[in-house]
Symmetry: C2
Subunit: 259 residues, 2 copies
């Protein structure tokens, strides 16, 4: 090992050596740390360490992930009502909330919102727009958390089923203890009434914001959500960019971008 390290340092082949230890090799990892290796991160099944080799420069190995990311679904039905669920466990037990959860590896936040609505409410939706998001400091393990509140609309098939079933949902009875469709123009009143026990603070502001948007006369949902498919993203090989609503009525602009 020492020979290898000296070899790398002399040849300036690499700036750093990485060694990954399985969970049954922590004894070996301890020996590596004694030789100057540092912990970089761990997952369930391994511990990653590295040794910085370039003595003339300070260690510039980027740290590991820093943020948790969650997504929620603002689901509006064809009667201009918002879907709320009553949670059945955790620290939001018995509170009214939008369907939400963490973004899984390999999915975009828009997909996570759609999945959470499917899992919790048993309802098929599609992503329409990002309504807003919030940035929170010092959450779980003192790390920051991002939460994306997505506007989703039930698919045509789901709307037909809702109409047939009098808007009943086949929700996950382990996670959820009830649901309701709240008219958009009653959301502020609903959010501010303590007996409604709305999950705070995100949902509280969200509901007031949605209500304000709706009652201001902008009629965002009524005019657009069931009629209008905007180009919102530029998708590349493995990334998506989200552009603001600034461009809502500027489709021509995209001709240039879409080339």
């Amino acid at each position: 090992m020492e020979k290898t390290i000296n070899h790398y340092q002399k040849e300036e082949i690499k700036k750093a050596i990485w060694i990954k230890f399985d969970t049954n090799q922590l004894y070996l990892a301890q020996e590596a740390l004694k030789m100057g290796f540092k912990l970089h991160h761990s997952k369930n099944n391994y511990l990653m360490t590295y040794l910085w080799l370039d003595k003339e420069r300070t260690d510039n190995i980027p740290g590991y992930t820093t943020h948790m990311v969650g997504a929620g679904g603002i689901v509006i039905d064809n009667q201009e009502r918002l879907l709320l669920l009553r949670e059945n466990s955790g620290n939001r037990k018995d509170k009214w909330n939008i369907p939400m959860g963490r973004v899984d590896l390999g999915e975009n936040f828009s997909q996570a919102a759609v999945r959470e609505v499917q899992e919790e409410a048993g309802l098929e939706t599609e992503f329409f727009d990002l309504l807003c998001f919030r940035e929170l400091q010092a959450w779980y393990f003192e790390q920051p958390d991002l939460f994306f509140a997505c506007l989703l609309k039930p698919t045509e098939k789901a709307i037909k089923e809702l109409e047939q079933n009098n808007y009943q949902l086949n929700y996950d009875q382990h996670e959820i203890s009830g649901f309701q469709w709240v008219p958009l123009n009653e959301l502020k009143q609903f959010a501010e009434d303590p007996k409604n026990n709305v999950a705070r603070p995100m949902q509280y502001y969200l509901l007031r914001y949605l209500n304000a948007l709706y009652t201001d006369g902008y009629k965002f949902y009524k005019d657009k959500i069931f009629d209008f498919n905007r180009l919102k993203t530029k998708t590349g090989s493995n990334y998506e960019m989200y552009y603001p609503n600034l461009l809502a009525n500027k489709e021509d602009l995209w001709k240039d971008i879409k080339q």
Copy 2:
């Protein structure tokens, strides 16, 4: 240890036991794993493990952080030009890029963008708006990465200094090897010319997008960036929410939200 575990299990006091090991206690961590503890995460100076106690339910301990987050500064001067920097190291060496970097713990992405511009370009700016952001899968260590492209404007003081110094910058000569102010209406041409060596793909699309916005006649920057302060965020005790540009000319709407 075993007694303690049995005690906790019998009394149903806790769902899980957490043990944090310093970097010189990996031998002990190995013993803990043998007893059924699992790795949760590590930072530079410790390894966090936990034991799930509730035998009737499956482990529902949330995972650790999943995302890296970066921010960049779209800096426009009072002559409608965008600031580009030529990077001096890393895999973008000699490429033109916007000032950018990772979000540090304890700062919002808007603050990170302002800090990066200060550090790299030696220029004082303030956050104006979020232009767009992108979501990328399987980046560093196969984890996702979010990048927020922020519209920043030089402070009044900085504009005065730029005017006095013929728009020269006192940039960080270790990280940056040059700078230029590119007129907004020339950005598409600039981005598409291979000899300009623009960092891709984010910057490539960004520059074309900015150019399209500008030349479309919307005159977003000219009309607004130096004159108009929009309320963009709702700040709570430890979180900020970002609303879309939908509300750009709907200040009244905020009376309700701001209460």
